[in-house]
């Protein structure tokens, strides 16, 4: 029997528009949740939350443990220690995000559907950002709630009311910056592994360069050369803790936004259904 005799029906149902990025988000999240190693990474990234929660419980219930009582610096420190997991999640999920689509010519499949290049990028970014927020913003906000629950009062929250917007703002800046940079690097290659190596090199090389320059100049004014230092400096300002570098924080903020801008420019040029070499 010829294949076509098995039939083909015209579709009479409805078609929705403008939700393609949501489809990509859902597909991306569901896809990762089926990956056992990914689940292990997600669980590991929440260990600090558990430790901090225990710390908050002890501080709230044992007066002798006042030394471990939470402060704004505790939350700032929480983000610093999550950086390892932010790095791992970014590499694991982001390095291949566009590179693999380029390798398998998936871009022309995506963009032949009713979605724009912007929607495609939003779809890719949203998957990475959802998981990054899941290991930064979500546990940090939960820690605030846990503190109130263990203390049984709002004293800490009232005294540090800015923490909620600070956590939200810093999480967003961090997540947007690393996601954009990772996707931009991913779009430069057809190999996810190469894009991951590029991102790792960017972080470690810039950090090593900062170490050399600091040793030469004897000052931390050159901290802006390191990818992560700018984010750390901006984070200190947002959390109202003493700045760790002599670099003006406004310069660090400008570099953060500059990196986001450069990443957006690269993505605009690289995410196309047709690569034209004129």
């Amino acid at each position: 029997m010829p294949i076509h005799d098995q039939g083909y029906r015209r579709y009479g149902g409805t078609r929705a528009r403008g939700r393609a990025w949501l489809v990509m988000l859902r597909n991306g999240v569901i896809g990762m949740m089926g990956n056992r190693r990914w689940i292990v990474l997600m669980i590991a990234s929440w260990i600090q939350f558990v430790v901090r929660a225990i710390q908050f419980y002890i501080a709230a219930n044992f007066s002798q443990a006042a030394i471990v009582a939470p402060s704004a610096a505790t939350f700032r420190d929480f983000f610093d220690r999550q950086d390892l997991f932010v790095f791992l999640v970014t590499i694991t999920l982001g390095a291949a995000a566009i590179a693999e689509d380029r390798r398998t010519n998936a871009l022309q499949i995506y963009l032949s559907k009713p979605l724009t290049r912007l929607e495609y990028l939003v779809g890719k970014l949203s998957v990475l950002m959802v998981f990054l927020l899941f290991i930064t913003w979500v546990p940090a906000i939960l820690l605030l709630i846990v503190q109130v629950l263990f203390a049984g009062n709002f004293t800490f929250l009232k005294a540090n009311f800015y923490l909620f917007p600070a956590i939200t703002l810093y999480s967003l800046i961090e997540v947007v910056m690393v996601s954009m940079c990772m996707l931009a690097l991913s779009s430069l290659s057809t190999s996810g592994r190469f894009a991951g190596i590029l991102y790792t090199a960017l972080i470690f090389f810039s950090d090593a360069l900062y170490g050399v320059l600091r040793a030469v100049t004897g000052s931390t004014r050159v901290s802006w050369v390191a990818f992560g230092n700018n984010l750390a400096q901006v984070g200190d300002v947002i959390f109202r803790v003493p700045l760790r570098y002599e670099t003006p924080w406004i310069l660090s903020l400008a570099i953060v936004f500059g990196l986001i801008g450069i990443a957006a420019w690269i993505l605009e040029r690289r995410v196309r259904a047709v690569e034209i070499v004129a």
Binding site: P2, I3, Q6, Y11, G13, R15, A16, Q108, I109, P114
Partner: protein, 310 residues
Amino acid sequence: MVDTEPVVSLDNVTIEYGRNRALNGVTASFAPGAVGLLGPNGAGKSTMIKSLLGFIAPAQGRMRVLGLDVAESPLDIRARIGYMPETDGHIPGLTAVEFVSFCGQLAGLPPSDATQRAHEVLYYVGLGEARYRKIETYSTGMKQRIKLAQALVHDPDLLFLDEPTNGMDPKGRDEMLELVRDLAHNKGINLILSSHLLPDVEYTCDHVVVMDKGRIAAAGPIQAMKQPRGRVYELRVKPRGELDAFFDHLRAAGLECHSTDDDVVRVFVPGEGGARQLFALASAEGAQVRHLRPSVPTLEDVFAHAVGED
């Protein structure tokens, strides 16, 4: 009433890659049904399809697909068309049914409908038994079929098929052509089939647009284009001198000669001269006619005539 509005029209479209003009002032219209976009490699077929999808902006000219302007409504157009690209293309890490369902959802189908149609379409293209396999494990022929499936899942009104039989074995190629023919003639889907393979176009399409060097070389219904404006013969001769010199003599007399894979040459004799004119020319040159047989004009003759091939 038969709908005769063109499904695709181009008006003086020029597309440039730097200094290179891929399409040069192309004006054409594609009738409903199955239309073959025929031309040698580099003629501008794929460029035309990609520009119709909105992937490449023209330097000048306007294009309309299904009555919509490509520059103004690219998303409305993409919601109603299906595109099977020339090169391998899939979303990594997915099984066939996941991939096709995902493509359906991207095109706006609800998840349940997209999944149901993914199963149906995969059966239709002959991948029913392999639908739970990862696409990375597929053979070249299967990858061609999955590309057709993703283009069909949302039930488009118009299909762009870019070299759909590339890399397929003879059996797979025949099955693919059957599918294409069935879609166009029994399922009511308009399609534009880009190919450099004349038999593929001739078997599946009713109309043809022949491209060459970024221009339209010929266009029209295949049957009408094959109507002889003279006679075509298969000819084998033993010339007195060089064979090429003999054919140059025929060409100088206004005949067209196209070599074939066999040892015969297809000769188009315009007007009413027919075999008598051929014999006269051979006699004048002292050539022995060893074989002369009237032949039915093929699309290959039309194509060769349009692009000026020998």
